[in-house]
């Protein structure tokens, strides 16, 4: 314990000196860069997506109805080497309608909308969203116009409610119709199951091949005079944004972004609280000795054999689970850790140093001795330990969320992994769903571990030689 030697050991020479020394380690610089990135990310997130908004959005399914389900992140294309479909949204409102006034006073309206499709894969889903007001439920006829000029009647649909949705993908009748169309066009049964998406977007060929070009959709409806009809065609892609989406069409990016401040504040706060409270308890134990020491040591020993996780599960069952309660229980369960024994021995050692005796001789009180003479001496080895313990707490929070013991409202990394697990992400090949939050967790862990290790080497010169 070179740093414990009074006098002969090198000085800490203040914060500046420590910082300069830290920066002499490349690994520490890397750690600091990652940490700064994560902090920047957290600040950005908190500013752009305020927490209440994020929580609300995360919990509503309506907000994400125009997102594809279980879409991969866009950059996944780089690995496939082909262009994967984004989500295309075309609304009627943007196109001109042709109107014919019938004798009975109704209007026969027709719209045509166009969109370009030049992706290398089929879309994942097609839905038509209606938004209308009417006196009498109108009937809508929907035609599909392929780039090769073919026009297919998709559906004659009587609106069930003003904001009706037409899930074309689920339409078995349409599927059958398209299959028959393919059979007649190529003269035999195609080699693939003609789903709605493939039927609408494939060339007429034995194997599914995307027909690129400008597609159109025509809507015809008979409306009463004051009826308003608007509709939106959404052709869902298979990729979405930076991080993809989950089974509830939520963009994972929100969870990943919000995960950062939550994980870091949870990790740092617990690490800071457990370390500093443990430090104080250990110091009191070592300094005063006697009965106080005995009591504290027994608590530590009992705490060491208490099963941490079951108690935490018990607590979270009986109390409303939120992040603060979890933080509090983790802190309470961790302060009487075995680390106290180490602190206690250090303090007992320091207590016997001449400079402490000198201070007693000029009348320093116990309080002053502990605060100004002992704790600054034991801080150097404690700080790197604290930094290094942050990943543990970040993982703990993720683990608890994974077990369903996390805060149910906050989007966290652990919860994303938990969702992925319950939805069989790996079995369905949706690796991104697990790997993205895992990557963030590891990144955070590495940042703190690198900094902690560098600090450790600085305060414990023996490690420098390793």
């Amino acid at each position: 314990m070179g740093w414990l030697k009074t006098g002969s050991s090198k000085p800490s020479a203040g914060l500046k000196g420590v910082l300069r020394e830290v920066l002499s380690y490349k690994s520490a610089i890397a750690g600091i860069v990652i940490l700064l990135f994560l902090i920047g990310l957290s600040v950005y997130t908190m500013v752009t997506i305020p927490l209440p908004e994020a929580i609300q959005a995360w919990r509503s399914s309506e907000a994400w109805s125009r997102n594809p389900r279980n879409a991969q992140p866009e950059w996944i294309e780089l690995f496939y080497g082909r262009r994967l479909p984004r989500t295309i949204k075309v609304s009627l409102g943007e196109t001109k309608a042709s109107e014919v006034l019938r004798e009975d006073g109704t209007l026969s309206v027709s719209w045509v909308i166009h969109f370009n499709y030049d992706y290398d894969d089929f879309p994942s889903e097609i839905i038509v969203f209606f938004n209308s007001s009417y006196v009498e439920k109108p009937v809508v006829e929907i035609y599909w116009i392929r780039p090769d000029g073919d026009e297919i009647l998709l559906k004659k649909h009587s609106l069930r409610r003003p904001d009706d949705r037409l899930y074309l993908s689920n339409d078995l009748g349409l599927e059958l119709k398209l299959e028959r169309l393919f059979e007649s066009k190529i003269g035999k049964k195609p080699n693939f199951t003609v789903t709605v998406e493939k039927g609408l977007f494939s060339e007429y060929s034995q194997d599914p091949r995307v027909l690129k070009g400008v597609y159109g959709m025509r809507l015809e409806a008979t409306l009463s005079k004051n009826d308003v009809l608007n509709a939106e065609l959404v052709v869902y892609g298979t990729v979405h944004g930076l991080a993809g989406t989950d089974h509830l069409r939520r963009p994972l990016i929100i969870g990943l972004l919000w995960g950062a401040p939550i994980a870091m504040s949870f990790g740092l706060t617990t690490a800071l609280l457990t370390t500093s409270l443990g430090l104080i308890i250990g110091t009191i134990s070592g300094w005063y000795g006697g009965k106080i020491d005995s009591v504290i040591q027994r608590i530590v020993e009992i705490n060491a054999v208490l099963p941490f996780l079951p108690i935490l599960i018990l607590l979270t069952t009986f109390y409303r689970i939120d992040l603060f309660i979890i933080l509090l229980s983790v802190v309470v369960l961790s302060i009487f850790s075995l680390g106290i024994k180490g602190t206690r021995i250090l303090v007992m050692q320091i207590k016997s140093y001449p400079y402490i005796e000198a201070a007693q001789a000029y009348g320093a009180s116990n309080m002053r001795l502990i605060l100004f003479y002992v704790i600054p001496k034991i801080l150097p080895p404690v700080v790197p330990g604290m930094i290094s313990s942050v990943p543990g707490f970040v993982f703990l929070e993720a683990g608890l969320s994974y077990l369903g013991l996390g805060d149910p409202f906050l989007p966290t990394w652990g919860k994303i992994i938990s969702d992925a697990q319950t939805n069989g992400a790996f079995y369905k090949g949706m690796y991104y769903w697990v790997l993205e939050p895992a990557f963030m967790l590891i990144l955070t862990a590495i940042a703190f571990a690198l900094i902690g290790m560098a600090l450790e080497r600085i305060v414990n010169p023996k490690l420098k030689e390793l």
Partner: protein, 330 residues
């Protein structure tokens, strides 16, 4: 030596340390580190406490400044009984006494600058209120111990100074509260020979100038001569001999004192041609010391009585006490 000049009086002072064997054992043993010490020190005087390791001299020093609470006897400081002072009274006593320790390298918190180390006593006792006054006091103390220019030293950390310089700082810290009594516990034993004299000379000057009472604890008889008026020889927790330093050096009475004087090396090329006549053996364990004279097992002059009874302190000559049966008749 009138009553007014009286600074410190010890009456049969005892400091025993308890040793319990085992956790539940009720048997208590004592290490009798200081076992009945009586002396008087006047203001502005220096007394050397001479003894080997384990003689109890360091324990006595720490008991005098109440780092330890005595188990028996009394400490009278400026006509006030300080034996069992508590809390605020003890804090007053802390201000009236100063300590210089053996190891200058360990005597300072390595995270404090010299300035802060010297400021601490002032902050604790709040004797000067303003920051400027405190700084002035710190600088003055550094000047007092000749660490000039003071700015060169005040803002350094302890590891940047040599042992001799640190010991000066330690002295500055010990006198910054303007105490009346200074206990210097082997203040030079870890320093080089040339620096030793420098530090002792400094201590001596301060003692004379500030009229400090000084208790100089040492194992080296040779350094007592020019740096103390009184000398007190300790062995195994007992005071074996006490007198004026000059008297003890010129006319040592106790066989132990004589052995110490013989054993103290002196530069002389003749030394290599002769063996020293020193008693063999080692000091007794203080848990179970001899019931009689504690030096008797090693004493070349010991006779029957020495092994049976503990001798009292005889005044062999005026102002010269010796705890030895050889001087019973006088």
């Amino acid at each position: 030596m009138n009553s007014e000049g009286r600074l410190l009086e010890l009456e049969d002072l005892r400091k025993w340390f308890e040793i319990r064997r085992g956790f539940l054992s009720s048997k208590v043993n004592y290490v009798k580190a200081v076992d009945g010490v009586t002396f008087r020190l006047d203001e502005g005087m220096a007394m050397s406490l001479v003894g080997e390791s384990g003689s109890g001299k360091t324990t006595l020093g720490k008991t005098i400044i109440r780092l330890y609470e005595p188990n028996g006897g009394r400490i009278i400081f400026q006509d006030r009984d300080v034996t069992h002072l508590k809390a605020n009274d003890l804090k007053w006593y802390r201000r009236m006494t100063g300590l210089v320790q053996q190891d200058p390298f360990g005597a300072f918190a390595s995270h404090f600058t010299i300035f802060r180390s010297l400021e601490e006593p002032l902050l604790i006792h709040n004797t000067v209120k303003s920051k400027e006054e405190r700084a002035e006091k710190v600088f003055k103390a550094l000047e007092e111990v000749r660490l000039t220019p003071v700015e060169d030293f005040a803002y350094k950390y302890p590891h940047m100074l040599s042992g001799g310089q640190l010991q000066r700082v330690a002295i500055a810290r010990a006198i910054i509260l303007e105490p009346r009594l200074l206990v210097a516990d082997e203040p030079v034993s870890m320093l080089d020979a040339s620096v030793r004299i420098e530090i002792l000379t400094l201590l001596r000057r301060l003692q004379e100038r500030l009229r400090l009472g000084v208790i100089y604890i040492t194992h080296d008889l040779a350094t007592t001569r020019f740096f103390s008026e009184w000398a007190l020889i300790m062995y195994a927790g007992h005071v074996m001999e006490k007198a004026f330093t000059q008297e003890i050096l010129r006319n040592p009475l106790h066989p132990y004192t004589r052995a110490l004087l013989t054993a103290t090396p002196e530069p002389n090329p003749e030394n290599r041609n002769r063996f020293k006549q020193v008693p063999p053996g080692e000091p007794p364990a203080l848990i179970d010391p001899p019931k009689s004279c504690r030096f008797s097992p090693r004493c070349p002059h010991a006779f029957d009585k020495c092994f049976k009874e503990e001798p009292p302190e005889f005044e062999a000559a005026s102002g010269h006490w010796v705890k030895c049966w050889l001087y019973e008749r006088s």
